[in-house]
Every structure is written in C-alpha cells, then in structure tokens.
Amino acid sequence: MLTQEQAGDIFERIKKLSTGDVVEVLFSGGHFALTRFANNTIHQNVAEENHVVSVRAVFGGKTARAFTNKFDEESLRQVVLSAESLARVQHPDPDLLPMPDPSEAAGNAGGDARATQTPSRHFERTAQITAEQRAEGVKKIVGVAEKHKLTTAGVFSSAESFDGIFNSRGLSRWHTQTSAEVSITMLADDSSGWQKASSPDVANLDPLRLAEIAAQKAVGSAHPREIPPGKYPVILEPAAVLDIVGFMFWDYSGMAILDQRSFLTGRIGTKLFGDNITIWDDVAHPLQSGSPFDGEGMQRQKVGLVEDGVVKRVVYARATAERMKRSEYKDKVGPIAHTGHGFSLPNEMGEMPLNIVFAPVSNPQTVEQMIASTERGVLVTRLWYIREVEPFEKMLTGMTRDGTFYVENGRVQGGLRNFRFNESLIHLLSNVEAMSLPLRSCGEESFDMVVPAIKVRDFNFTEVTKF
C-alpha cells in the first residue's frame, strides 16, 4: 500500500510539472476484499487494489481538478495538464481562498467547536484477513442458518485504506485505517431477519452472535399477520434510526443554508426536536471512524449540532464560513467558523458532518424495556428505500424490512407484514419517548453513526405491502 513517504515523492514530481500559482494533490486508495454469500453458498468473492491521485491547479482565483490512477511520469504529466487546462478556462471565483498552510490546517475553530485527537484506526489483524479466513467466517454463519433450517445471504468484507493531502504551501497530511464489516440476512419461507456490524478492528465483530440474532428474527417473524396502517408507537432499532435520520445531515451545512435548500433555513437557534435530542459531530469519538482532516486538509472539529432539541449550528468549509460572514444570514446561524468538514475543491455542496454521535440520555432503556412498556405498537429492525417526499418538513417515505414485529401488552407477539411509512423527521425527533445507550451502528441508506434505539409516538404508517 502507498506510504506517506512515497506519496510525498509523487507530490514533489507533480509540483515540478505544475505551472500554476499553487498546487494541491490528494491521494486515496488501498486494498479491499469482500466475500459475498447467498443460498448458503459463497457466490461472489472479490479483491481489489487501487490508488488514485488528483491534482488541483490554481491560476489567479480559477481552479479545477483532474484524477488518474496511473503514477508513471507521462500519466502525472497528463493529469497536471488536464487540471491546468480546465482551470485556465474557468471564471475567477471570488470566494476561493488561498490553500491552508500546516499551521492553519491544524488550528482551532471558533464558537463551540473543539479540535480533537483521533485514536488509531489501523489494526494489523484487520489488514491481514485472508479469503480463507472470510470463508471460515461465512461457514460459521451458514452453520447457524442450517441449524435453524434457514437460508442465509450476506457479506464479510475487509479493507486497508489511505487518504492523504499535500499542497505547495507545505501541508502534508496522511491517514490510514482498516475496516471490517459483516452483514447477514436469514431467510425463512415467509419471513426474514437481518443484522449488520462494522468496525476498524475485526476483533469487535462477532459474526456468530449476529447470525444468531438474525436467525431469531427470521424465526420469530414467521407467518406475518397484517394490521391496518395508521399511527403507532414504534420502537426503531439503531440501524433503522441511523438510516432515517441520516437524511437530514446534508442540511447541517453552511452551504445548504446559503443555497436555501436546507430545512434549517431560518430555524437555527429554535427548538425543533424534543428535549432528549442532543447530537454531535465528532470524528475522534472512540466508536467513530474516518479521517481527522477534511478535503482541504483542515483538522475536523467536534461540533455540537443539536443541544436539548435546539439546533445550535451547522458545519463549515473554510470558504463557506467566509461567505456566511458576509451573508444576510450571518446573525441567524449561530457560530460561524470553519469546522474542518469541507469536501475537496472545487465542489458545489460545500461541507457535511460525517461523524454523527447522539448523546446518551440520563435514563437509557434497553429495547427489551421499551417493549415491556408498550401496550400496542411495532418493533422495527430495519428501514429500506428511504426517500425525501417533502424537503422543508423533512418528510420521508420508505419501507420496513427483515424483521417487523407486533408488540402487545409489553411482549413481542409475532411478525407483521411490512409497512410503508411517510414521516417527518421533525415530528419523529420531537416524539421520542425512550432511548437506549448509543452504539456504533450501520445500515444501508446512510453512513455509520453512533445512535441509540428509540421508541417514538405516532409513527405514521400509510400502507401495508404483501409480505
């Protein structure tokens, strides 16, 4: 895998080829492997090695980027030429800032944002996982399926990756990490169950436990009954929570406010959610993953987005923060300072928080306790195919999937046919009656987060499907 030293040498070669005012070079890549199984068989099994270098050229306020995955001299010459050719014909961007130097990139931000140190996320045992080891893991999962007379499908993947940024003002930042993921679906004749987990350290994953829970869900939801759609108390397991709330975090961006495409426009500083909702973006949280610097090399800060239901602030790239300070919104959006959340330049989206952490409540409940306190409601394992129906109330639609249960008199009473929901996130997060302790969770519709299971009042199911 490419090292920081090797990348530094490539950067020096690119710098010599450049004719622009300054140059910035991003590196990304690594090796990735994924073993996929279905019908109790490994049917796809892949491995990949790749590395990409991208060059951003700047001429007097004009900038553009070009990418290549070839590092020979001619390819580097060509990628520099492409970036410079594109940059020269741009219109000058008055908002383009000088590239950060190492001091600025490491510096602290204003307001309540805090610079933090991230723990190591590289684990040799994850980097060294072989196809044979993944196959052995899959064999155990298949064993659980066979024990319960079920069919299983899923993935066991592992990766070792790097991200780096260099610029001609002396910035040089590098991040390596590993990741492993297990996702399991157990299928019965008319029901299914699902579990998924990910971690930089494969030792944190327990495929057998996940397989057993998924199997229990498949068995427990067999012969699902149909109940009418309507508003129900609903217990959402953490994967369901992250998949639905993930749809609002694009809006926690200074650029989204400036573009008037955020549901937070005119709402920052207001109490939008319940008292029990406090949300941070924190790349250094021990259950989080990812790089400690953003697309310009700026240190990611810990940022309080929501406190006791009040939306406190949004995140910023450097240029967005400067634009916001000059905008009509400058007195209505809380603290304005770069927070290290920018995408690589040039881009039109600005920035986004990617390391979401829900704060624990003082009286957490387990899912079992939430069930015990429910007279009549629905327990949801997972949500699926979530899309935005109305952007300002953040109304979303989607389906339940792979383990939807009827709860009555404090007990799970069996499986239900899956529902379609149409629900506002503002309504959802204003009606949370109980929360578990947050934990690292992963789904399929959004990025991994540290979120709790929640019990919510009046969740709006509008239709029932046929299974």
Binding site: A33, T68, V155, T397, E463, T465, K466
Partner: protein, 488 residues
Amino acid sequence: MKHVANWALNVAALRGATYADVRVVAHRSRALTTKNGKVGSASDAESVGMSVRAIADGAWGFAASAELGRGAVEATAARAVEIARASAFVKQENVRLAPEKPAVAEWSTPYKVDPFTVSVEQNIELLLKIDAELRSVAGITLAEANLNFNREEQWFVSSEGADIHQTKLSTGAGYAAYAFAGDEIQKRSYPNSYGGQWQNKGYELIEELKLVENARRIAEEAVALHHADQCPEGKFDIILDSSQLGLQIHESVGHPIELDRVLGMEANFAGTSFLTIDKLRKLRYGSELVNVVADARQEHGPGLGTFGYDDEGVPAQCTPIITNGLFTGYLSSRETAHTIGEKRSGGTLRAEGWNRLPMIRMTNISLLPGEKPLTLEQLIAATDRGVLMQTNRSWSIDDKRYNFQFGCEIGWEIKGGKRVRMVKNPSYSGITTEFWNSLDAICSREEWTLWGTPNCGKGQPQQVMGTGHGAAPSRFRGIKVGSAFKNN
C-alpha cells in the same frame, strides 16, 4: 492491451482455473457543473485497470488491480484463482455456465461529435447561459446545471477464445431550478430530474435537448408551484409523462426481472423479487396493452443499456419481458440461464468498471409505444377526471418490488378532458401488478423517449450503472393519489 489479458489467462490456467476471463478497461470522464452563476465543479478523470474472473474447484474468484505490469497482472490472476478456491470452501454445487460461442469482435457506440473535442469554454458558456435564464425568473433561489461525458474502452478476453474490443460513449445533461419561500421548497428539472437526460451518444445529444429554450418555462413553473393547490387525495386516473413512466418501469419491472434477485443472490442488500420462477409465462403482469422488452441492441436506440457485447462476451439481445400483458422473460446470465430452462444467456452481465465484478443489470427495459396514433394532448382530452404527473421527485419500493410510492415535481388536474389547474406535491402509490393491469392507454411512437438512468445502484460493493427506459405517456385507471401526505 490484449497481451496484458493473455498474461492473466495463462497464469489462471496454470493455477488450475477451469474458466477465466479478463477485462482491461480504460475509462475517461468529464464533469462540469454550475450553481447560481458560478462554476460549481470542473473535473477530468481517467481510471485504467484490469480484472480477472476465474472458476476453480467449481467456484468463483475475482481480483482486480490498477497495475498493468506483467508481475502485477500475473499476481492478480493467481489471486483470483486463490480466492475461487476459498469460495469453494462454502458451496452447495459447482458453477455451470451456459455455452456461448466465443466472439471475436470490435464494437463502438455510434456518434456524430466526440464530446471530449468540444471545448470546456463552450460547455461552461452553455451552462452559464442556462443558469442566467433560470435565475432571470423572480423567485428562483437556486439554479444548478450539469454536463457529463464518459468514454469506456474495454478489452475482453476469455479462456474459451473470446476476444472483444468495445468502446462505449455516453453524454448527459440537465438542470434544476429551486424556489424557496415561506416554509416550502419547490423544484423543477429539465429534461429530467437527478442529472437530466443521458444517452449513449456524442455531443449531438446536447443540441437535441433544447436546454436553453426550456429554461425559462421550467423556472416559471418552479415559482408557480408555490401558488398551486395541494394535489388532492383519493383515487384518480393518472397520466404519467414519459420520464416518470421510465422510472416506474425501472423500479417495478426492471428490478424484479433480474434473475439474480429472483434466485436470492441479492437478498442481503437490494432484495429479492415477487417474480418467482413459477410465474414465468403464467403471471398476467399487466393489461393487454403492456409490451415490455429488454433490448440492448443498437437498433433499439442509444440507451445507456445499449452495447455490442455484455461483460462476459455475450452479444446484445432483445428479450420479450411482458408480451400483451403476460410475463414472458427474465434478465439472465451464463450462470443463471439454466435455472429458467434457457440454453443461452440473455446477455445482461455488466460491471461498473475494471475493478468490479460483472452482475446482471438492466439493459434498455422499455414499454413499447401504442400502435394507434395517440398524442399526450389527445390522451388528456379523452380523460374525464384525473391527474397528469411530470418529472420524478421521489421514488421508493419494497424489497420484493410489490409496494411502491412515487412523488413528482408537478401535477395538472384534469377535468372533462382539460387541464384545469396546476397542483403541487403530486404522489401516487400502489402494488406493481395491480398498477400495470390498470393501464388502459399508451401514447404512440412520436411521444416515445428512450430515457437514461445513470445512477442505478446494486451489488456489494455497490456498483452504479446506467440503464435505458423507453416510454410514452400512459394512463392508469383508479390509482391511489396523495396518501404520502395523508395525516402529515
């Protein structure tokens, strides 16, 4: 590049692979966007690499590398075989491939103007002209426009003797105008939402789309939606414009007919399908008017699902999917064809790039136009009480592809054969087969458009693929409208 592929084939054979194929791919792309009078992003990208797909001990292995030196290529081939042997550790039966005569061929997308020869200045000028038109309408708060060009050159060589060199070119363009006011954000897009129209064509597509000419109308509609009434709730006859119908086809026909889904191979992520094999040639999928084909051939048109050969060397074909309403075919591959009694693959295996495993993907899944002359205006005139819905805004469907809900950007209430008012936030929902059986009119060929969907996600690791969907405006009777907003 053929020598690179042969290095890999030789090593795969020496290591004991009973079958292997190699793809060497060079991909080039250009993406340009503008936002509110400025260039949003400008980038060029190239990606080159190779991959080996091998069968050993009756199971599959796949390995890919960006390095094309002999040592790296041979190591990648050896790794694919090693992975295949690990796969064999957990298998129920050996992989078997439907026979296919090895093709030796050259194929490339027909085009008039290579989009990479058009200057970036000219492209930016076009985007900024569109942007200025959109923002000349009072009330527009955000204008976004995009141009995208892609070229993929691939060398495919197999241990059976196939040797195919194929070059595909695609072009995409579109824009959106947003109007924020009060507590509402409304949006209109042209020629379609989420990136516009995409086809396997050259720059001539940009000329055909009349982008600038439509910008003011689109912006005015976005602003006017703020003053429109909410779309009524209840059961209505609905008319879908061709772009929305294209997505309806994609979600409720294209995905359920993927044979890998049907066989459970996608159960963990994309889901399965209600179209179990016992339904083939028995299920009444739609009304008698419904004829759907999966057609990858050039004669079907320049869709994103048009090619000469798929990514396991099978020639492009046309498969009847729904024939006069009867379900008649699946999308298949060499590995899956035997499960439906076919002796040959339907030729639908495709990969996102050099580093991804080919899988069953939609080609051009198209609803054939009505045979009797019928324009959209004539169809509206023949509708007593209904809603015309245009341009997708949201889409969702369950993991077996039964229950769906779509939202559109704009609707028009129809009474007594006339559009009587604009309505905002139109949405409709239903069950796939009930919906297609309610179709009672399809406009004819002059209203038919082959739309491109550039962002179809499937697989683990997820692959994004372009698919094509031909459709003409059509009418569906007694459809549930507006339940998305009920109780909200």
